[in-house]
Amino acid sequence: MAPRPFITVLASWLLVLSLCATAAQAAGPNMAVVVGEESYRTLRIEVTGPIDPRTDAWEVWFANREFSRLDEAEFHSLVRRGDTSGLTRPAVGAAYDECRVDGDMAHRDEQGRPVISSQATRWSCDLTGMTPGQVQWIAVVPVDAAGTPLLDVNALQPVAGRTDVPDVRTPPPDSRPVTYALGAIVLSAIALLSFLRWQDAKRGRTRARLAHLYVAPGIIALAGLTFYPILYGIWLAFTDADQSHLGDTAFIGLQNFVEVFKTPGIWRVTAFTFIWSIANVTFHVLLGLVLALALNRPGLKGKTVYRTILLLPWAIPGYISVLAWNGMLQPDGLINGMLGTQIDFLADAGRARVVVILVNIWLGVPFMMASFSGALQALGKDMFEAAEVDGVSRWDQLIHLTLPNLKATMVPVSLLGFIWSFNAFNTIYLLSRGGPYVGFGEPGATDILVTYVFEVAFTYGHYGLAAAWSVLIFLMLVGFSWTYLRQTRATEAAA
């Protein structure tokens, strides 16, 4: 019995030794690349010296099969080497593709690329955005200032890492808290409804005996699948939940909110979101109203045809329209063809902003047109005939009769339009992906709040941070809606 542990220890020891030996051999005279932490969509590579002094940068290449030649692989990213004086280091957690030099965060240049100091002997970087659930092969190729590889690019020895590791390594996230919470909410909804029914019974309202039963499924679904996620989202905003640890999130107070306000470009993206929403809603209402008035002319020929075509942007699935505009706006697309130019509309910040707004206006006008058409028909023509007999000009009729009477439609519809524009994720995401690029970790030139939150959550994986953004966005919307309704009510009272 005694030898067993001994043999085990010995075998392990031998194994460790042989592994070290292999590692040493692989390192040889050259630098060594090791896959460090593996996780879902992210791999950490660690590069240890000696470093060829001619190295100006390292190119990271990858493929989902083993390769030996560079043309079989895809380029992932570039890590620069050089003088780091005058450059800044991001805070821990600020950059998702963290790079470290001898244990410290690496410096970044103006474009956000990591720069490794010439004196450093070892560095590591997180490679993000890998396809999950695969084995990835990675090669690091040092290049000199002229861009010439310092390795034989036809005899590469990539290292392998798996990108589905956390799913295997950590147990699946504990679903019990969620299940318990959902159960509790469903039970309390049932209890509430029973209580209400009991109250009704006590007051002798027997006709409505079944009413609570009828609304119960809807209310329970609403409570469990809308109110609970909202509360959960608020709680998430105070935790460090991200994609690498889901099961063991910790309460971190207001840190996420502090982080939000430290985001470079936060005021820019907020300002653009409001400009975007207000510009959109203004033109939606304006054009929708003009079109509705035009279609409201009695005896207009072809009214049905016009109306049907004008409703198309509403009828066609939005993502298809936006992608079509994307194609038309390409440098070789239809718009450039018509203008006789070769402009990449989405490449330049100013142009891209105008263009995304124009496309979203195109999408939203039919809804407003339909709303106003209905409201105009409801106005009836008597009032206008009375004005006609009184000799009121058509313009005065429009200003003093039509518009004031449309206000009851206009106020809720434009608020709704504002909220929709505010949340118009598809338009931005499918047209410009928030680009053009502005700065590292910053929202892009055409990012609006919701697309940026999406990026924080699902590109960077910072769920807690994204939840904090969401809470703030919600507060903004509530604040805006409240002010708007109060303003319009105030003018109504004054009028």
């Binding site: 969620v178 809807g218 679904a221 996620p229 889901l246 075509i309 004008l310 009828a315 919701v450």
Partner: protein, 414 residues
């Protein structure tokens, strides 16, 4: 001066029309200015701006009352406008866009010039027309003015539908053009290769299957939840009615992004990512408030007397609901079903987040994945888009009036 009633109220139809057309043309040139700015053409911008100012100047030079004269100033300005329009046209490559955009300077210029020589306009502006001329003019205006207005209206609406229809034509053209050409002449080549490759491949059918399962599931679950609730809100007064109706309304105002992350987390924890059930649940709940409001509106229109009669005949409340109310409001229920089906069929963001593997994609995510990732299959994308859009567009158009009514009942009145 003692004027007759006819003289007092007569203004030539042409001038009346120009009073509103000139500002409209100026506004149009304001838009064209944005176009010139987008294509970074300083010359075009300058000339468009000049044209805009000239149009406004013309508007204020129009004689405001009989005998105001100013015809020569009007003609001079009009000629200047024509010159500017012509100059701007010569400056460019004379593409279709250029022809059209300059027409918005040349057209008004020519029109003003021509009409300034029109006898009734001249007579009125110089104050030479007597009471008879005014009466004749009024008689002429009676047919002339509506005709001018209708023409302008048609011109405006044609512009509007051109803007609407260009992407549609473009997509149809890309779908039947060989290769992945984005520009080029419309209708210069024809091929069905893209339709063949989309409909012949398995991927499109997998996405369609996913979308169908999810959309139909959403419709069924959504209706099962919304129909009883809508009925209860329409018919009964019960404790908690107002409060819960307000809750439904509140949810409708929540922006999707707020619940996006928590939804994702909940679904991940429950292991419902990459499943149809996850999306069905989320879609039916997000569409629920609007469906409940729509249905409540529809049920409100079913006369209560019918139910009371049935109750007197000895039906139970459940029987009344299933035998009387539901059959009567079947069209309305169908409309709500159509609404939730289309909403689920078109939804992009949640489907994008919830489904990471290609064979779980719904059509929106699948179609959009054809563009940036795999070498931009514009032709295939266009063909698939047409196949996907046609059923929903046709359904929408067929039922547009009821759909819009239902939606406005749900969104505006609520």
């Amino acid at each position: 001066m003692n004027q007759t009633v006819a003289q007092k109220s007569y203004v030539p139809a042409e001038l009346l029309a120009l009073r509103s057309w000139l500002p409209a043309a100026a506004a149009m040139n304001g838009l064209l200015f944005v176009g010139e700015a987008l294509r970074a053409s300083p010359g075009g911008m300058g000339l468009t701006a000049t044209g805009l100012l000239l149009l406004l100047a013309l508007r204020f030079t129009l004689p405001a009352q009989a005998g105001a004269g100013r015809l020569w100033a009007l003609r001079l300005l009009a000629m200047a406008l024509i010159a500017v329009g012509f100059g701007a046209f010569m400056l460019t490559d004379r593409t279709l866009y250029d022809v059209w955009s300059r027409a918005w300077l040349l057209g008004p210029g020519v029109l003003v010039l021509a009409w300034s020589f029109f006898a009734p306009v001249q007579a009125w502006s110089t104050g030479k027309g007597g009471p008879e001329a005014a009466e004749e003019g009024l008689a002429r205006n009676r047919t002339r003015l509506p005709r001018l207005e209708t023409r302008a209206l048609h011109l405006f609406l044609l512009h509007a539908i051109a803007v609407i229809i260009v992407p549609v034509i473009w997509i149809a053209d890309v779908a039947v053009s060989p290769g992945n050409i984005l520009g080029g002449r419309i209708g210069d080549a024809f091929t069905l290769e893209h339709f063949r490759s989309v409909l012949g491949g398995s991927q499109f059918w997998i996405w369609t299957r996913n979308s169908l399962i999810i959309a139909i599931g959403t419709t069924l679950v959504g209706l099962a939840l919304a129909v009883p609730a809508g009925y209860a809100y329409s018919r009964y007064d019960f404790a908690g009615r107002k409060g819960s109706m307000f809750a439904f309304l509140l949810v409708q105002m929540f922006p999707g992004i707020i619940i996006l992350v928590p939804y994702f987390m909940v679904m991940k924890t429950l292991g419902l990512l990459n499943t149809s059930i996850g999306l069905i649940i989320v879609y039916s709940v997000t569409a629920l408030p609007l469906c409940v409001w729509m249905l409540k509106g529809f049920f409100d229109t079913v006369p209560r007397a019918l139910e009371e009669a049935a109750l007197l005949d000895g039906c139970t409340q459940l029987e009344v609901f299933f035998r009387i109310v539901l059959p009567l409001s079947l069209p309305a229920v169908g409309m709500t079903a159509l609404f939730s089906f289309i909403a689920a069929w078109n939804e992009f963001l949640l489907a994008l987040v919830f489904n990471t593997s290609n064979d779980r994609y719904t059509l929106p995510v699948g179609l959009s994945s054809m563009i940036p990732a795999n070498g931009q299959l514009w032709g295939d994308f266009a063909a698939a888009s047409i196949v996907v859009s046609i059923p929903v567009v046709v359904l929408f158009m067929l039922f547009q009036r009821s759909l819009i009514q239902g939606l406005s009942a749900g969104s505006v009145k609520g």
